[in-house]
Amino acid sequence: MTDVAVKTRLRGGRKVHPQPGGLRWVAPGFVLSVGLIYYCIFYSGFLSFFSWRGGASKMTFLGLDNYTKAFASSVFWSSIAHTLIFYVVVFAVQVVGGVFFAAAMHSKILFATLYKVIIFVPVVIAPAIMAPAHIQVWSSDGTVNALLSDLGMGWLAQGWIGQSSTSLLVVTMAQCWGAVGFGFLLYFASMGQIDYEILEAARIDGAGNLRILWSIILPNVKATTISLAILNFITALKLFDNPWLLTQGGPAHSSEFLGTMIYSEVSGQSRNLGYASALSMILLVIAIAVSVVMNTRGTERPTRKRRRGRTIADKETQDV
C-alpha cells in the first residue's frame, strides 16, 4: 500500500485526491512548451488566414486564400520536389558514407583518431562559416572548375551555383559534407554495441566482409538508420541555412526550399506574414505526418532477449 493510499484512508472516510506533487516540477517546462511553442504554432495557424504585414498594419481576413495560393504556386511544388531530392541524396550519402567510415574506424587502421576528427569536424562547423568556402569551390572561377581544367575535363567546367540545372546539386553537396560526419558518429556508436561473438560466428561460417556488413551489421544498426531517416527528413523540410547562404534559393527558384520561401516572405519589404504562416503550417503538417509514419513503420517489434556477450566496443577495448 502506498503512502498516498494510507493518507487517503486516514481522512475520516472522506475521499481525498492525492496531491499532484509532480506538477510543480512539470510546470516550468509545461508553461514554456505550451505557453511559448504551442502558442506560437496556434498563432501562426491563426495568422495564416489573414493578410498582415505585422505590427500595427491592418489585418485582412482571407479565409483559405493563403493556402490556395500556396497550392497553386509552382514555386511551392518545386520546393517540395527539391526537398524530396535533397532528402534522398543526403540520406543515401550519409548512410553509405557513415557506415563506410564507421566500419573502417572499427578496424585496425593507423591514425584512427585523426581520421575521426577529420570526418567529424564538418558537423561542428556552422554553415555560415563554411558558406564562403563552398561558394568559392563551386563558383565559375572556383576550385571545381580549376580541377576539371587541370584534369583535362575543361569542357565540364560551368557556373555550378548560377545555373538552374546545378544549383540544387551545390546545396546538396554542401549538406552532404557535414552529414557524413554525423552519420559516422551515430553508426560508429551503434556498431560498437553489436555482439562481437555474432561477427566471429559469421566469420567461422565463412562470411566475407561485405556479407557481414550486409547481413549482420546493417540489420543491427537499423534503429540508427531509421533515426537518421527521420532526422534527415525534418532537416530537409526546415532547411534554410545552406540554400540561403549559397544561392538564396536561386537562380529563378531552382534551389528554393520551404524554409527559404518562408524567410523570403517574412524578410521582404512586403512582409507577407499571413502567407508565410500558411507555408509554415503546411510544413508543420508534413513534418508531423512523415514523422508519425516513419516512427510507426520503423518501430521494431519486441525482440527476444539478446544473449549477453562481448560487443565490438568491448573487443576493441580488450585489444587495446
Binding site: S164, P251, S270
Partner: protein
C-alpha cells in the same frame, strides 16, 4: 568665428521654430516643447555607423547637450527588429522609414506626423522645399506624413574605372555597338567589362531592366509597374532580348548568376578588376580618396591605390534616341516615434538633420545621398576626391541630373513585381533554361502585382 555665429543663429532659429510648432494640434505634432538637452536613440539600416557618427558629431557642435545614440542594422534585421520594438513601446525615439515596399504603411502608424513642425520651420510651402516628390513618397495612404526626408537616391547609370579605360584605349560607350567595342578592348587587357551580380534574391537586376526599358520606351517601366502596361508587352520582350544579347555579346559576364551585386560586382569593381559597374548615387562616396581606400580594403585589396571612378550615363542600348533617364526617389526619412519619452530632443535632432542647412550640408558632403533640402550642394572644398579636376564636375553634373529626375526607383514597384523581374532576368541569363523570351515575359507578367502607390 563667422561660421560659429551662423551656427548659433541657425540653431536659435531652429529651436524657436520647434518651440512654435509645439503649440500645433496634437494630431500632427507632439505637444512637447523641443529640447536643447536630452538623450535620443536612433535606429536605421542606413547610414553606416561611421557616417552617422559624423552627423551626430556635427549636430553636437550646435546641440552639445543632446546625446544621440545610433544603432545600425542590416536591412532584413532592421525590418525584423523595428516592428516588435515599436509594437511593445520600447522602440527608438527616431527610426528610418523608406518609401519602398510600403514601409510608410507598415511603420508610419507608430510615427508622429511632422507636417506642422515642418510647416513652422520651412513655411507653408514646406513640401516644395524638399526634393521633388520626397514628402509624398513618405506619406501613407491615410495622407499622414510619416517621416521627414534626409536625402534622395538615384540609379540607372554606370560607374567606370577611368584607369582601365585609359589602359585599354577604349572610349566611353554611348550606345550598344560602342559598348560591345569597348568591352572587346577591355577584355583584351584581361579585365572584366561590366561587373554584375544577378544571383539570389537581390533586386539589383531590376535597375538594369529599368535602365534598358528607359532606352526602349521611357514611360513603359512605370506604366507596367502600376498596371497601365504589361510586362509582356513588346517593350518588355525587347528589354529581355537586349539583356540576352548583352550576355551573348560579352557585355554581361558569364559569372553573373554566381552571386548578387553585393558582394560580387562591388568587389570586382573595387579590386580594379572590372571597368564598369551599375550602381546608384551612393557609389559617389567612393570617389573620395579615403572612402575609396576603405572600400578597396573591404574588397580584399591589401595595399589600396584608389583609382579614378567616374559616373557614366547608361548607354542608349535600344538605339532609338531615347538615351536612358536616371530614376530616383527619397532614400529614407527620419520618423519620430510617438511613444518616445524624448520627443523634444528627437524633434531637435530630426529638424536639424532634415531641415537645417548645416545638417543637410553634412549629408551633401558625404556624397552618398542627394540632400533632401533643395539648394544644398556639396562643399567641394571640404570633399577630397581622388582626382578633383576630373571627378568634381562629373559628380556635380550627376547630382544636377539626379535632382531633376521624373521617374521613381522602387516606390511604385511592388515587392512581388521586383521579385518577378529578378526571376525573369535570371531565366534569361541562365544558359540551362531553354524557355523563350516571350514565355519568360509572360511569366513575369503573371507573377507581378501592380502597384497602387502614387495613383
Amino acid at each position: 568665428m563667422k561660421s560659429r555665429l551662423f551656427a548659433a543663429v541657425a540653431a536659435s532659429a531652429l529651436v524657436i521654430s520647434l518651440a512654435a510648432c509645439s503649440s500645433a494640434t496634437s494630431a500632427q505634432a507632439p505637444a512637447v516643447s523641443p529640447a536643447t538637452s536630452g538623450e535620443v536613440s536612433w535606429w536605421g539600416w542606413t547610414p553606416d555607423t561611421p557616417v552617422a557618427q559624423k552627423y551626430i558629431a556635427a549636430f553636437n557642435k550646435e546641440f552639445p547637450n543632446i546625446k544621440v545614440t545610433y544603432k545600425n542594422y542590416e536591412n532584413v534585421d532592421y525590418r525584423n527588429a523595428i516592428t516588435p520594438a515599436l509594437d511593445s513601446g520600447t522602440g527608438p525615439d527616431i527610426y528610418d522609414i523608406s518609401p519602398a515596399g510600403g514601409s510608410p504603411e507598415t511603420w508610419g502608424s507608430y510615427a508622429l506626423d511632422p507636417s506642422s513642425f515642418a510647416q513652422t520651420t520651412l513655411g507653408s510651402d514646406w513640401q516644395n522645399k524638399f526634393g521633388s516628390g520626397y514628402v509624398k513618397e513618405l506619406t501613407n495612404s491615410d495622407g499622414k506624413v510619416t517621416a521627414l526626408p534626409l536625402g534622395g537616391m538615384t540609379a540607372g547609370f554606370l560607374w567606370y574605372n577611368a584607369n582601365i579605360f585609359t589602359a585599354a584605349g577604349a572610349t566611353l560607350p554611348t550606345d550598344y555597338t560602342s559598348w560591345v567595342t569597348a568591352c572587346q578592348k577591355i577584355k583584351a587587357i584581361g579585365k572584366t567589362c561590366l561587373a554584375m551580380g544577378a544571383g539570389g534574391q537581390d533586386t539589383f537586376p531590376t535597375e538594369l531592366v529599368h535602365s534598358i526599358a528607359n532606352s526602349v520606351d521611357p514611360a513603359w517601366f512605370l506604366n507596367a509597374a502600376t498596371g497601365k502596361a504589361k510586362w509582356n508587352d513588346p517593350q518588355g520582350i525587347e528589354v529581355l532580348n537586349i539583356i540576352k544579347k548583352m550576355s551573348d555579346d560579352g557585355i554581361i559576364p558569364k559569372n553573373v548568376l554566381d552571386n548578387g551585386q553585393y558582394p560580387l560586382a562591388n568587389e570586382e569593381f573595387m579590386k580594379g578588376d572590372a571597368a564598369m559597374v551599375q550602381m546608384g548615387y551612393w557609389y559617389a562616396q567612393y570617389s573620395g580618396a579615403e572612402s575609396a581606400k576603405t572600400a578597396m580594403t573591404s574588397a580584399g585589396v591589401t595595399n589600396p591605390q584608389p583609382f579614378v571612378q567616374m559616373p557614366l550615363m547608361f548607354p542608349d542600348v535600344a538605339g532609338k534616341g531615347n538615351g536612358s533617364a536616371v530614376f530616383g526617389e527619397a532614400d529614407y526619412g527620419l520618423a519620430i516615434n510617438k511613444a518616445s519619452k524624448n520627443v523634444g530632443a528627437a524633434e531637435t535632432f530630426v529638424g536639424w538633420m532634415t531641415m537645417s542647412k548645416n545638417g543637410q550640408q553634412n549629408v551633401a558632403n558625404a556624397i552618398d545621398l542627394i540632400p533632401a533640402l533643395n539648394g544644398v550642394e556639396p562643399d567641394w572644398n571640404s570633399v577630397k576626391l581622388v582626382d578633383q579636376a576630373q571627378q568634381q564636375p562629373a559628380i556635380a553634373k550627376l547630382l544636377s541630373s539626379s535632382s531633376a529626375t521624373t521617374q521613381t526607383r522602387q516606390w511604385q514597384t511592388t515587392d512581388t513585381t521586383l521579385k518577378a523581374i529578378v526571376v525573369a532576368v535570371q531565366q534569361v541569363l541562365d544558359p540551362t533554361i531553354k524557355k523563350s523570351v516571350t514565355d519568360i515575359a509572360k511569366q513575369m507578367q503573371d507573377s507581378s502585382e501592380a502597384s497602387t502607390v502614387g495613383k
